[in-house]
């Protein structure tokens, strides 16, 4: 049965339990998650390695049987009608599934054939141009760079113009330039109307691309919403003031009268001042310090990051939360 819902993906109580082998206990990789992804949005699924992101995606893509719960993708029930789900989704998984001995064009034409795409030659040319691989189309994939492979993989997932595109860690292992190119592709694909479900462990990627996101940790959803709302939930901006160690005490006293002050903590080279409206408070911070006879060496303003959101949700920082950290 196909339903005409406003949601491209709806998940209720989704569970994946792996049976233990040879007397070992089983593992519950996904522990009853609920998700709703609206049609046309880029939804980020954020979490560290082993959190359950890929397992969730594989269940939604019909690659893994669901242990418990319900999932609908593109209006179709995944458990009871996986074949129809496959017709409506595109999948680019973490492992770039490309045969290195075929050319880019051959792989795309094969994919067009498998999805019964009319006028495959035209569609291939169109997609190759879209992902900037027209010139490399007749070279075997083994000669492609990591970024080119990732873009070709994206193109193979798009041959049949899927309603929902699943991207599992699409930029892992890519250099910054290739990463930016993939982000542009994702924006372009989404602008054409495709719902994108993107898993990532890179906070910057989620911040750049996703209208809404959910954070998964240890198989459970621990936070969800728009990136801005999640950051706003933390309440404060932080103004870091560079002070000499002997000025810390006087600085604390001076800033106690700051309007909108949430709290103050010692930072590596001064004080971290948490306030509700950081931009408006910078001038007051400087004024109060100067009036107390303190001249701050540096003043910087920062908004809470998704890393702070992750910290608040899980009690720890995400490992490899930036591509640079992961490298």
């Amino acid at each position: 049965m196909v339903t005409d819902s406003e949601f491209a993906i709806e998940v209720r109580g989704l569970v994946k339990r792996y049976r233990g082998s040879r007397g070992q206990a089983g593992v519950e990789a996904v522990r009853g998650i609920d998700l709703s992804v609206r049609r046309g949005e880029v939804f980020g699924f954020l979490g560290p390695n082993g959190a359950g992101k890929t397992t969730t995606v594989r269940m939604l893509c019909t690659l893994l049987p669901i242990t418990d719960g319900q999932a609908q993708v593109a209006g179709v029930d995944v458990g009871s009608n996986p074949a129809e789900v496959r017709r409506r989704i595109g999948v680019a998984l973490q492992e770039v599934g490309l045969d290195p001995r075929q050319t880019g064009r051959e792989l795309l034409e094969l994919q067009c054939g498998l999805y019964r795409v009319p006028r495959p030659a035209e569609r291939c040319a169109e997609l190759l141009a879209l992902v900037g691989l027209s010139e490399a189309a007749d070279r075997t994939v083994k000669t492609y760079s990591g970024g080119m492979r990732r873009r070709l993989d994206l193109a193979t997932a798009l041959v049949h113009e899927p309603q929902v595109l699943f991207l599992d860690e699409p930029t892992t292992g890519l250099d910054p330039a290739s990463r930016a190119t993939v982000w542009d592709e994702v924006r372009r694909i989404n602008a054409a109307g495709t719902t994108v479900f993107l898993t990532t462990q890179y906070l910057e990627e989620a911040d750049q691309l996703c209208r809404r996101l959910a954070i998964i940790d240890d198989g459970r959803l621990v936070a969800g919403g728009t990136p801005d709302a999640l950051k706003a939930e933390l309440g404060s901006d932080v103004i870091t003031v560079g002070l000499r160690p002997d000025e810390h005490l006087a600085g604390r006293d001076a800033l106690a009268a700051l309007p909108g002050l949430d709290h103050l903590t010692d930072a590596a080279e001064g004080l971290a001042v948490y306030v509700t409206e950081g931009a408006a408070a910078v001038a007051d911070v400087v004024r109060l310090l100067v009036e107390a006879g303190i001249r701050p060496g540096t003043v910087s303003l920062a908004r809470p990051t998704l890393d702070d959101v992750f910290l608040a949700s899980t009690g720890r920082r995400i490992e490899g939360g930036t591509p640079e950290a992961a490298a």
Binding site: R58, C61, T62, L63, L64, P65, A83, R86, R87, I89, V91, L93, Q94, E95, V96, G97, L98, D99, P100, R101, Q102, E106, L110, Q111, G113, L114, Y115, T140, T156
Partner: protein
């Protein structure tokens, strides 16, 4: 069918873009054929009763054909596809999952046909003749290629079950007892007692005997040909069943 053909075409492209695998598959049986003939040609002259007037190479030719097409190539290609994530891509596509296995096996039929024709050609150069003529030549190539398809199921099932290159490669050792516990050097009647019993239980015996009779006798021996066809069909059905079952369990 369309999906199988598309996937078979891809697999065939792999064969000619990676000729080393096919060259070694042909070289080893041809090498054995030449060496074996060189060693025993003078012992078994054409007047030897079981050669029916042919050179010993004619007696050995079916063994070389079976040797050449019995490979683990498709299993290794499958496990590579699993490794690089291509099987996942196919499993997520709206195709019959069985097409993933049938596509590979269809490519084995193409490769087996080419390899059999090549081995047969070398056999001709060494003096073998196919007494049943053109029909016999066509049957030899076709049945050898089909045996290659049936046999490929061993490595395919191992690949899908183990998802491991080393394990899949190791499945090649199954072939040695299968090939050597047969009447490969002399007819079944001349084998020693226990070996003859084992050879009778070995399906490859019936494949070699069926092919051999096409080479040695001017008319088709329907009994041995029927046993050969039945053995190939049963082996194919059983091993393909295991491959398809392993494929269905791959996403568990």
């Amino acid at each position: 069918m369309r999906e199988i053909l598309l996937l078979a075409r891809r697999a065939v492209r792999e064969v000619y873009r990676l000729p080393a695998a096919t060259i070694s598959a042909v070289f080893i049986p041809v090498f054995f054929m030449v060496v074996n003939i060189g060693q025993v040609n003078k012992i078994f002259s054409p007047s030897t009763p079981f050669l029916h007037g042919q050179h010993y190479v004619a007696f050995q030719l079916p063994v070389s054909l079976v040797f050449a097409v019995s490979t683990v190539t498709s299993g290794l290609a499958m496990v590579t596809d699993i490794d690089i994530g291509y099987v996942d891509k196919l499993l997520a596509a709206p195709i019959r999952r069985t097409a993933i296995v049938w596509g590979r096996l269809a490519a084995d039929l193409v490769r087996g046909t080419a390899v059999s024709a090549l081995v047969l050609f070398v056999g001709f150069l060494l003096g073998a003749r196919v007494r049943t003529g053109v029909v016999g030549i066509v049957l030899l190539i076709l049945l050898s290629a089909l045996w290659g398809v049936a046999y490929a199921g061993i490595a395919m099932a191992v690949a899908l079950k183990s998802k491991n290159v080393q394990t899949t490669n190791a499945s090649f050792i199954v072939f040695f007892p299968l090939l050597f516990l047969t009447p490969n050097f002399v007819p079944l009647e001349l084998l020693a007692g226990p070996l003859r019993t084992l050879a009778r239980l070995n399906p490859v015996t019936y494949v070699i005997t069926g092919l051999r009779d096409l080479v040695l006798f001017p008319s088709i021996h329907w009994g041995s040909l029927g046993a050969c066809v039945l053995t190939i069909a049963l082996t194919g059905v059983v091993l393909t069943f295991f491959s398809l079952r392993a494929l269905s369990q791959i996403a568990e």
